[in-house]
Symmetry: C2
Subunit: 195 residues, 2 copies
DNA sequence: ACCTGAACACCGTTCAAGT
DNA sequence: ACCTGAACACCGTTCAAGT
């Protein structure tokens, strides 16, 4: 007879992971405090101890998580920007269930800091209007991922089916998505340089 | 003593208008079948007669509404594309409350048809990869509006305040947003021509 | 055909209480 | 400090019933 293993203590990180899993697997509409509690083997009310502002705080945390990206400075501002865009795209594609939050919530906390860092990085590398550039790069990544995920057929899963979401790196997304992304990124970087 | 005026009959259109008003004014999270019923002077259950699939159908209809754009063909494919992007941006900016739906729901119904129409229009005007171009243009508009609305400080209104949303055409958006948009659009169109 | 009223299962959140 | 249980106001949706 299996011993009752000691319960893993709840933590902000475990909560966010479980929430991402539910949102990606069943859609944001089915991400519920009670369901989240079940997934964590805990009563829903326990969550409030770690996220005092409740579901709003959870939503903010999810947007922050999927939107916070760090990248080492590259050889040029172009390479830095390229790496940052690729990382941002990867982070967003990994969790289509919270894409709506990521595109919609104003950056706060670590996400806002990461944006400032990236702006400084590009400015230090000699780019004139780094703030404008970061705005344009974020817009590009947001738009690209939005249409990509739309096209991939991802939608709030019906709930009846229990098929987990597989990131479109192999099979889900159309094969041209990567090259489309890189092509447009090249064009944008060229344009930002000339500005 | 005022006579009880005869109730305006419910219709799909009136429902959608009221829903947009609530979403823009108080945020999508507060758009509720019951609240929507109140706004329409009707019991919530009456809505199901006009939108049989209930709230899902409402969400689909909102995304479709804010995402369906028609434009007359211009002198060149560049002008057609430019007009289409401007109109799309305007439609999305007008209703920040449902932006998350618009960026996230795959185009269906009239929205899907409008996209096909625009693709044909560009192809007829001589553009080689019209489908790829429309994908890129949609991505550009989506991303631009997403960062713009984020920056404009719009967020699910707190609900305590009763300040209605004013579109950023005058006052809300930073003044550079329009020129930023046009600048990037020019660059994208140039890139699409050379491809 | 169109709308209502009552009912059901489920939701977010609070609060006092347990350990 | 961390979690539970009961409670409250509010959801989406159904269904039989009214007109």
């Amino acid at each position: 007879m299996p011993a009752k293993r000691p319960p893993i203590p709840l933590s902000r990180e475990r909560i966010i992971d479980a929430a991402l899993h539910i949102a990606d697997g069943q859609g944001l509409r089915r991400l519920t405090m009670r369901r989240l509690g079940d997934a964590l083997q805990v009563e829903a009310m326990a969550i409030y101890h770690h996220l005092p502002r409740g579901k709003d705080a959870l939503m903010d945390a999810l947007a922050e998580h999927v939107t916070t990206v760090h990248v080492e400075p590259g050889e040029s501002w172009q390479e830095s920007a390229r790496a940052w865009c690729r990382a941002s795209r990867a982070a967003l594609r990994e969790h289509p269930g919270v894409l709506a939050l990521a595109l919609t919530k104003p950056p706060r906390g670590r996400a806002a800091i990461a944006i400032r860092e990236q702006t400084d990085q590009l400015a230090d590398a000699g780019l004139a209007d780094a703030a404008g550039a970061v705005r344009a790069l974020r817009a590009y990544v947001f738009g690209a991922v939005a249409v990509e995920v739309q096209q991939s057929g991802w939608a709030e899963p019906s709930g009846d089916e229990n098929e987990p979401w597989r990131p479109p790196s192999q099979g889900g997304g159309s094969p041209g998505a990567d090259t489309d992304f890189e092509y447009g990124l090249d064009a944008l970087l060229a344009g930002l340089g000339r500005r």
